[in-house]
């Protein structure tokens, strides 16, 4: 096994570019999944079955099919429908959509975890429904779900390399480009593998600490 430190040095500027793209995709994907997940969770509490059933079916479908194929779907089908996004935007939308079906479950658990007495108190105070949600239920629910949402951010991080398949130059994309030009695979792939561990392991430790503090 040969290890070439100069290749590591050569790869560093590309690695930095890729890292920035990865983090950007992660940040935007997280925001979309957090927002959409809450929307799904609230829709799943709609009084009518005609809202709950389609939302449940669609999210179940999205959750049980590969993100990669969903990426391809958006990347190739949207242009045919004359909707054009950049590759990065398409990827971010796909990740956000995919993970929103997971965060939805998290929110649902959080909302169901709010004690029934809180609902009753809101009714007793004659709070309108909107105020009940925004002032009573959601602040307590969100607090509980932060660590679980964090878990999915880490999962999303580990799914960002897929964006390479739709031409986004994130970390793995840069590594592949470099290794094809220089025929050195070991160094760039190891660098990004280590980078992933260096990000995700401390992040999971941080979440564990946060979980202890928030959930109790």
């Amino acid at each position: 096994m040969t290890w070439d430190w100069s290749a590591v040095g050569d790869f560093m500027p590309l690695f930095r570019d890729g890292l920035l793209v990865t983090l950007k995709a992660l940040a935007l994907g997280s925001l979309i999944s957090f927002a959409l997940g809450l929307v799904w969770a609230l829709l799943m509490r709609a009084p009518t079955r005609w809202v709950r059933w389609p939302v449940g079916a669609v999210t179940e479908f999205v959750r049980n099919t590969p993100l990669l194929v969903q990426l391809f779907f958006l990347f190739y089908v949207l242009p045919e429908w004359n909707i054009t996004f950049s590759a990065l935007t398409t990827g971010v939308v796909a990740i956000g959509l995919h993970y929103s079906t997971y965060t939805m479950q998290v929110y649902r658990a959080g909302i169901e975890g709010v004690p029934a007495g809180q609902w009753e108190a809101a009714t007793a105070l004659n709070l309108p429904l909107r105020r009940t949600w925004t002032a009573v239920i959601l602040p307590q629910a969100i607090r509980r779900v932060v660590p679980a949402l964090g878990n999915y951010v880490i999962s999303m991080l580990k799914d960002t390399p897929m964006l390479m398949a739709i031409t986004v130059l994130e970390m793995l994309g840069e590594a592949r480009l470099y290794s094809q030009e220089h025929f050195q695979f070991t160094e760039p792939l190891t660098v990004i593998g280590v980078a992933f561990i260096l990000i995700s392991y401390p992040a999971s430790l941080l979440l564990r600490a946060l979980e202890r503090r928030l959930v109790r």
Binding site: F72, D159, T186
Partner: protein, 242 residues
């Protein structure tokens, strides 16, 4: 779509199913070996098993696939057949997630059961085989079911390396038809059907195993997911890696 193109899709399904089956065998073996090792009394065994879990869970499955395809042949001079390379990469990655399931279920067995084994002067191996595992395994089934669906979704990744699985044949058909929406809708649907079958089979398995212990399976799926989400241990294991 013409029959020839359907044949391509069928071949893709076959490769995906093979990957799913072989990958789950490797992942299952890794899960149990590493998961049991994490409950070992020797710190070095626990440490090494923990290291394995963190490394394979910390990186992404796709990076592991690239590693197995490109770095292994250069580093050790042997190249794997694509099917085995994909199996190895997927099995090792998802096995790391599975080991957390095994560890959690073993820890969840009532400590009195372990003490009972000690009182009967069973050896550690006998305790594991006769007391702990039979009680822990049924508890693992719902989590393993989720993991198996994640593994199914993970098999699509090998298409990036040009292996002719379902996702890859979808791309070929797209190129032939120049009509993306239709073929991808079919491909997604096929994945969904496979996932649905997995979920059903695992539920049957859970019922069988729990009946053997005189317990009822956890019934509503919604309640199960709720509990898992609210009580999720960190380590991102509870999440999805697709």
């Amino acid at each position: 779509m013409t029959p020839g193109l359907w044949e391509l899709v069928l071949k893709g399904i076959w490769v995906t199913l093979q990957l799913l089956f072989l990958g789950s065998l490797v992942a299952g073996a890794v899960s149990f070996v590493v998961g049991v090792a994490r409950t070992s009394r020797r710190w070095i065994v626990r440490f090494l098993a923990g290291l394995y879990t963190e490394v394979f869970r910390g990186t992404s499955a796709l990076i592991m696939i690239f590693w197995v395809y490109f770095v292994l042949p250069l580093a050790f001079g042997w190249q794997l057949v694509p099917l085995w390379a994909g199996t190895l990469a997927l099995g090792l990655t998802y096995g790391a997630y599975g080991s957390e399931i095994v560890r959690g279920a073993l820890n969840a067995v009532d400590p009195a059961q372990r003490e009972g084994g000690i009182a009967l002067s069973f050896t550690p191996w006998q305790r594991m085989r006769l007391i702990l595992l039979p009680q822990a395994v049924p508890e693992m089934i719902p989590s393993f079911c989720n993991l198996l669906v994640e593994l199914l979704k993970g098999t699509a990744l090998v298409s990036i390396m040009g292996m002719g699985d379902l996702a890859f044949s979808g791309n070929l058909v797209r190129l032939a038809l120049q009509e993306s929406a239709e073929i991808y809708a079919y491909i997604l649907l096929i994945y969904f059907v496979i996932a649905f079958v997995i979920t059903r089979l695992m539920r049957v398995l859970e019922r069988r195993l729990k009946a053997g212990l005189g317990r009822a399976p956890e019934r509503p799926a919604a309640a199960r997911e709720t509990r898992r989400a609210s009580a999720s241990g960190v380590g991102a294991a509870s999440g999805g890696t697709s």
